[in-house]
Amino acid sequence: MADIDIRAVRKNYGKTPALHGVDLFFASGEFVVILGPSGCGKSTLLRMIAGLEDITGGEIAIDGRVVNRLEPRERGCAMVFQNYALYPHMSVANNIGYALKVSGVPKAERERRIAETAKIVGLQDYLARRPAALSGGQRQRVAMARAIIREPKVFLFDEPLSNLDAKLRISMRAEIRKLHQRLSATSVFVTHDQVEAMTLADRLVVMNRGYVEQVGRPLEIYHRPASTFVASFIGAPAMNLVRTRVEVESASIRFGGATVAIDPAFAARQRGQDVTFGIRPEHCRLSATAEEGVQARVDFVEELGVGRVAYCEVEGEPFAITLDDHTVVTAGDMLSLLLPSEHLHFFDTDTGRRIEMDAPVPDAAPAAAHHSVQTMGVLS
């Protein structure tokens, strides 16, 4: 059990910056997921916590101890790698027990703990096998067992599920979650898969291009994305984002031949400026009458089984909506959509940051996002 304090951490590869000063605090026992597209610096950050990458600037403290200059083995972290990185020439038992062997644990004790750990991950019947004779899911378990046996203060997961097939990924996801509840060590999990991130995280860190975009509980991030990047990255299909102008007098925005009413106080604050508004496909509704509502022409339809996604075009802009089982549409149909004002999100068109409806316009949004991290505390 340990907290992780990341203070103004920067990373440069040569002259190219990969992380531009990241401030994060992970509470003890928390399950934190770092989410972002490839190249956003999420794996770099994880590897810096592990001690596999040098820290260019700033400090990382684990359990109150600054670890910048410590070797990986002195940091008390265990890591699960994307391609598992099992030792191919060793049996499963030796793979799991290697860390204990290195630290000089006597053989009898080692074997007892290997057996215990193998039982946790359900590998007790495979201890004599080589990694090559295991399936993907079993290899994944060996990698986890290798981390568990060290009883680390911190678990680090570097996209551990991305090499598994879709079905196995879902069951391993549940197992990782259960394991966390059982061991309750601080866990940091890096992924580019938003479903993994939403389902696993106590707290979610969304990163983009070496910056932290937003930190928060998964649902909070889903309902109140702090920027257009987060809005379009979380949720499938992605949130519709449209640039438009706020009409102060009528307290509305015009879109697709319709007038969408918005909060008058908010409209007054915007003073007729351009904003980007967003609405999630699942929050759009079909209008009962053809006259009112946003006029959308269906381009194509994706059937999902539980419902369908209609990809439409409104005033030349792409606009997706999700429909339930009973609503059948085909390409070429004209739909009229209602956009409930309580589900509208507004973003500054220039900076991409969120504009709060019920609060004064925030001036420096990125700093505010970082600040909220410190006050979040443990979520359970």
Binding site: L52, R73, F81, Q82, Y84, Y87, P88, H89, Y98, R150
Partner: protein, 295 residues
């Protein structure tokens, strides 16, 4: 080949058989000649049929060339050269691949360039150093201080002298480097996370994983060490340090001596056997180590 062309098949087979005869021919001569009497071996035309004189010829060759001592010396030399080369090249490649050092590429390329320089090219300076190890020191001392020292320390007529100058190997280093580079970075990282330092990583991970590589190298280097002729010829004057290749020379009939080629051939057959055994035992791994990495 996917095509079915009988003529092309016949031609390729003919070329293959021709190549095979060219390769196996000398061995047939040795095997046949080594088991014939002196009259039979000198008869014209030469008979390729083996006779029953092999044991007599072999015994004579063994005694005349003192093959017992020579075989022992050659075996010691080949084993030491092989072991030294394998150990040194794996460590060199380990340093080149797994450590970040500023002059890493310079080191690698300087090793790599020596691939092009066989022993024969550097044999004179190497001999000069081996014959007087302190020579460079003496030179510097006399240059700057005018001091002359009379201590002589050389490697002539010793196993050290036979093996040490042959141990540095670019081929082996290169082979190991290529293998180490195929290992995923995560392997080293996982070992680091598990608390293993570089030395432990080398012995626990790299050595077992490079087993096939090591055996392939062993095969090549044993044959290389066994076949050394020029270097032992220079280093050794004492008959008790003679190697088999030097003995083979003494088995050749003198210009106006008895043309007992049967004894010469029996001796060379005996000398050929140890590397044949090594290759035969290790060839399975030899091929695997050169063409694939078994991971």
């Amino acid at each position: 080949m996917i095509q079915r062309t009988p003529i092309a098949d016949a031609v390729t087979y003919a070329i293959m058989v021709l190549g095979f005869i060219l390769l196996i021919g000398p061995f047939l001569v040795i095997i046949a000649g080594a088991s014939q009497t002196m009259q039979q071996v000198n008869a014209i035309p030469f008979s390729f049929l083996p006779e029953n004189q092999f044991l007599a010829n072999a015994t004579q060759a063994w005694q005349r060339a003192d093959l017992g001592t020579a075989m022992t010396n050659s075996l010691i030399m080949a084993v030491l050269v092989t072991a030294g080369k394998v150990a040194l090249s794996s460590l060199t490649a380990f340093a080149i691949v797994f450590f970040r050092s500023p002059l890493k590429h310079l080191f690698f390329w300087s090793v790599f360039i020596t691939l092009m320089l066989p022993l024969e090219v550097r044999v004179v300076p190497t001999y000069a150093v081996a014959a007087d190890l302190l020579q460079p020191v003496k030179f510097i001392l006399s240059l700057f201080g005018g001091i002359q020292i009379g201590v002589d320390w050389n490697l002539l007529n010793s196993y050290t002298g036979l093996t040490l100058p042959l141990i540095a190997t670019a081929t082996g280093t290169f082979l190991y480097r290529q293998f180490f580079m195929t290992l995923p970075d995560e392997l080293a990282e996982a070992a680091r996370m598990d608390g293993s330092g570089p030395v432990r990583f080398f012995f626990d991970m790299l050595l077992p994983l490079s087993r096939t590589n090591m055996l392939a190298l062993t095969t090549i280097m044993f044959v290389y060490g066994w076949n050394q002729y020029l270097w032992p010829l220079l280093m050794v004057t004492d008959p008790s340090y003679k190697t088999v290749m030097m003995s083979l020379r003494s088995l050749l009939p003198a210009d106006n001596g008895t043309p007992d080629w049967n004894v010469t051939l029996a001796g060379s057959l005996l000398i050929m056997l140890p590397p044949l055994v090594v290759v035969g035992v290790l060839q399975r791994w030899f091929v695997r180590g050169l063409v694939a990495t078994d991971k």
